[in-house]
């Protein structure tokens, strides 16, 4: 199943003034993983989702909840 692009993460990351590389470093993954999450080609684990939320100072609802 093709995942939807996660624009919320990209927007939050840009708002936090972080590059994909910097966010990847903060959450302990590679830049490619962040890129794949943003493009909707990788479904992260809950643990990684919470790490991303903490790094971007957002909640799970803000970044990962689809209406």
């Amino acid at each position: 199943m093709q995942l939807l692009k996660n624009k919320k993460i990209k927007i939050a990351r840009v708002e936090a003034d972080l590059s994909q590389e910097q966010l990847a470093e903060r959450v302990g993954v590679t830049r490619q993983t962040i890129s794949l999450i943003e493009s909707g080609n990788y479904n992260p684990t809950l643990k990684l989702c919470t790490s991303i939320c903490k790094a971007l100072n957002k909640t799970l609802n803000d970044l990962f909840w689809e209406e």
Partner: protein, 145 residues
């Protein structure tokens, strides 16, 4: 997600086990050479001891690389890459199980007189059963821990 410490610990365990296996095989060769006991070919133990030694050396180099370069550590612990590696390992296991099953089947049908009698036949059966049941066994161990 695998932590960096866990990865370093696992690599250290692999080094220890490989070195131990290498040492046991080497000691066996020394004992067989020193005594009058004769195995099929004593040199086989010496040759076999080089395999775990090489594995230990490869793991040691990996450990050094991990400790010196944090970026390599990240790529080794990245959950996506770990998941990809696990998937590849699982597919390789399935392939090996298929090959072992065909070997067992082929052996049994081609040389029926060996069935239940020869060491080779029991070995083939044992390895096939091990490959089939060890994933279940390790799943149980993982559940408990």
């Amino acid at each position: 997600m695998m932590t960096a410490q866990k990865l370093v610990k696992e690599t250290k365990i692999i080094i220890s086990i490989s070195l131990l296996a290498s040492l046991v095989l080497f000691a066996t060769w020394v004992i067989l050479e020193a005594t009058t006991l004769a195995f099929t070919e004593n040199k086989a133990f010496l040759a076999l001891s080089l395999i775990p030694l090489s594995a230990a050396l490869a793991s040691y180099l990996k450990l050094k690389k991990l400790q010196n370069n944090p970026k390599v550590m990240v790529s080794e612990t990245d959950e996506r890459l770990v998941a990809e590696k696990n998937e590849a390992d699982a597919k390789a296991l399935k392939l090996l199980q298929g090959v072992l099953f065909l070997s067992y089947l082929g052996y049994t049908f081609i040389i029926p007189e060996d069935t239940f009698h020869s060491f080779g036949w029991w070995m083939t059966l044992g390895i096939l059963l091990l490959s089939l049941f060890s994933p279940l066994m390790f799943r149980q161990i993982t559940k408990r821990t």
